[in-house]
Symmetry: C2
Subunit: 241 residues, 2 copies
DNA sequence: TAGTGGTCTAGACCACAAA
DNA sequence: TTGTGGTCTAGACCACTAG
């Protein structure tokens, strides 16, 4: 089943790594090289393309990173058996998503207060239940119309200075970017019936299906905050490759 | 506002590109190098780390690809002003997602027939309205329980052989992988009230909010198919970095 | 243990865009 | 115009692992 592919006559045209990448990719996507098949070793490909092994390596490394190839020392390179493609999902600053779409961005702070963490919040943030957290709700507008409702719970142990920031001027997202750059984030996307607060601010009927993006961020081994983003019913998260 | 960062004393410890990457990233994430600031040029960094420019370049290229740096010829390298981080969203073979989660995968073909393309389908696939398409609906089960409902419209102009395939044995996803490897895909994620067919097969109440993943795939300049994936109400798409 | 990919060096030329 | 990153070469040694 798994064969080892061979090459035809050597090419002598001038090449760069992107051309090699394209050529190998074409062989995979056209089916000439099937999933599971072996790919010639770097030295052979270098001879075929008339370049050094470094250049071939750059091309193959890129294809492996994209999920098309699997490489192992000593074991050689094969066409990925289960090509798990990855679509890059952009995680922008909140206002940027709106501006990028060509709309004017504005926001209104709806709540900004401290209080004790509830059970589920505490476990999400890996802090003690009842620990002091900062609750921040805001509505983001695109061209003056409600676009997304933001509800955050920030871990005050990790970012106490947030209480001194003027959040009516700077969106909390930008404050966090400057003061607590994201190191690690977990994202969950789900569909839920709009809860009352979100429905109210988004000006939609309660229980309308909406996209919920739930994000937990970490920096320096500590949880920074828990973010819930509720979108308009017609909102779509777009990605692809 | 935008300063040009300098380096302290040269390091002489042995380094590889990943250590340089980590060191530069630490300077960014700790706030020592602020968004918009200039990063020393490759040659200076090479001197600082005691390695060649190639090695430094590898590290910086990787950080740029990850969204932390912006690089321009002649213009130099700066810390990204709006760090747009990218969370990789995996696009697996349908059954794989279930198996990967540790469940047994099974599927039932619900519909497999040809017919004319409707207006919206035709425009999504960039074919003529009324062109012959192949409709395929299937239910995917995890440990015997309904997990996701798949509804496809395939462009028969791009993949006529699908009519000869035995789709009761091989999931259509695997057939497509082998015969029409994905070149380009657009993905849209939204929240909708479950349509009747999906609700029926997922065994949920109609109009329950569910996640809809809509995927249009292309190969060799032609649209291959349009996929609608309806998930259980509690389903979450997970990603992060 | 031997063969493959992973990495680094020291140097060179080129492409692009800022000054 | 000129300084920066982008790329390539020819060679070397190392790390991992399949046989």
């Amino acid at each position: 089943m798994t064969t080892t592919n061979r090459l035809s006559s050597p090419l002598t045209a001038p090449v760069n790594w992107q051309m090699i990448r394209a050529d190998v990719l074409e062989r995979i996507q056209s089916g000439k090289w099937q999933p599971g098949d072996g790919v010639p070793k770097e030295a052979d490909l270098a001879a075929h393309y008339g370049c050094t092994r470094s250049t071939v390596g750059r091309a193959l490394r890129d294809l492996a990173q994209a999920g098309f190839l699997e490489r192992r020392r000593r074991g050689g390179t094969i066409v990925a058996a289960n090509p798990v493609r990855k679509a890059p999902l952009e995680v922008p600053i909140l206002g940027d998503a709106i501006r990028k779409a060509g709309h004017a961005h504005d926001f209104r702070v709806i709540r900004a207060e401290t209080g004790p963490a509830q059970q589920d919040e505490a476990s999400a943030l890996a802090i003690a239940a009842g620990a002091r957290v900062f609750r921040y709700d805001a509505l983001h507008l695109a061209d003056g119309k409600p676009f997304q409702f933001e509800s955050r719970v920030l871990n005050l142990l990790a970012a106490p200075e947030i209480l001194q920031a003027d959040l009516t001027q700077m969106p909390i997202d930008e404050w966090l970017l400057r003061n607590r750059p994201l190191e690690r984030v977990t994202i969950e996307i789900s569909a839920i019936a709009a809860p009352q607060a979100a429905a109210l601010h988004l000006a939609i009927a309660p229980d309308t299906p909406v996209l919920l993006v739930r994000r937990i961020s970490w920096a320096r081994q500590k949880s920074i905050g828990l973010l819930h983003l509720y979108h308009q019913p017609d909102h779509r998260i777009r990605t692809g490759f």
